[in-house]
């Protein structure tokens, strides 16, 4: 872990951010915009998959997917830069570590969705015959991402190491 922290701290990105530390305030604001886009759009899509909002077609609701990706992109970019700025604070923080595990699990869940559910959406939408595992994947997605949000907010409030 010390080697990884030292690598981040010796990077030009780290030096630049420390010299311009107002950038972290801007990045935090961006991280919150990304959060709203990612979780806002994901909530609607996943709730539709679970069975809410039946008046909206599943296909139409998926036009919100780019909002999820833009939100994720903003938060990946700002999140990586937070680690560059203060690696010793984040990498050894238990709440940050759990957050990264949850992001990883959410990514696996999304991959599973992409392979097993997405190709069948047109067929299942016609008579709204989504199998139970599709609803489980949608519910897992929401739980994982709200867990990510909770762990992120807890980073300043838990012990490190």
């Amino acid at each position: 872990m010390d080697i990884i922290i030292a690598w981040f701290e010796s990077s030009p990105t780290h030096t630049w951010m420390v010299d311009h530390n107002w950038i972290t305030v801007v990045l935090e604001i961006i991280h919150f915009f990304g959060l709203c886009l990612l979780l806002g759009a994901l909530l609607i899509i996943d709730l539709r998959m679970i069975g809410w909002f039946k008046s909206i077609s599943v296909k139409a609701i998926h036009s919100l997917l780019p909002v999820v990706f833009i939100g994720f992109g903003l938060n990946l970019m700002s999140g990586v830069l937070f680690v560059f700025y203060d690696p010793a604070r984040y990498l050894i923080n238990i709440s940050f570590q759990i957050k990264m595990v949850l992001v990883f699990l959410a990514a696996l869940n999304a991959l599973f969705y992409y392979w097993k559910i997405h190709p069948n959406i047109d067929r299942w939408s016609q008579d709204d015959s989504f199998p139970a595992f599709a609803k489980v994947v949608a519910a897992a997605s929401l739980l994982l991402w709200y867990g990510v949000l909770a762990c992120g907010r807890f980073i300043p409030y838990v012990g490190t190491g």
């Binding site: 305030v25 919150f32 709203c36 990612l38 979780l39 759009a41 609607i44 907010r153």
Partner: protein, 159 residues
């Protein structure tokens, strides 16, 4: 003792100060509520401005109800977060701008929600949304953005 000082002595304020995780739990709830209310209102306003055209406008009638649930979460968690530092917050310009933004943007969202009930079918069938609605949608996105930005700044300006 003024009203803000007395708020800081209420049992809610005491509970928040004494409990180990009360404060971050309220912050988590405030974050979840934010993603619901601002996330949905962003998408609704973008829809009014012309994006996501294959989602029927009428669909937002039920989505906006969910947004109001998010608003309620944030109203309650926001009040609880407020009481324990009331005197500090009312002197914090970022907090005051944020609350002004919330009030104006909420009134606009209520009007938009009502208008949606009257106009959704007409706008949808003609595939034409009034220019005034598009402008208000743009302003609404701007106001909620101000709320996010000043909300983040509140913590930096705490005394």
């Amino acid at each position: 003792m003024n009203i803000f000082e007395s708020l800081e002595t209420t049992f809610i304020a005491n509970w928040l100060i004494d409990s180990l995780y009360g404060y971050p739990v309220m912050l988590v709830l405030h974050g979840i509520g934010m993603s619901i209310v601002i996330g949905i209102l962003f998408m609704f306003n973008l829809r009014l401005m012309g994006l996501f055209n294959n989602i029927e406008l009428g669909a937002f009638k039920s989505l906006l109800k969910l947004a109001w649930a998010g608003f309620l979460i944030n109203f309650i968690s926001g009040c609880i977060l407020f009481v324990q530092k009331a005197t500090s917050f009312v002197q914090n310009w970022a907090f005051l701008v944020k609350i002004a933004g919330v009030v104006i943007a909420t009134v606009m969202a209520i009007i938009a929600h009502k208008t949606l009930y009257q106009q959704a079918d007409k706008w949808n069938s003609e595939n034409a949304i009034a220019l005034s609605a598009k402008i208000l949608a743009f302003v609404s996105i701007g106001l909620w953005s101000v709320v996010i930005i000043t909300g983040r700044l509140v913590g930096y300006l705490e005394q």
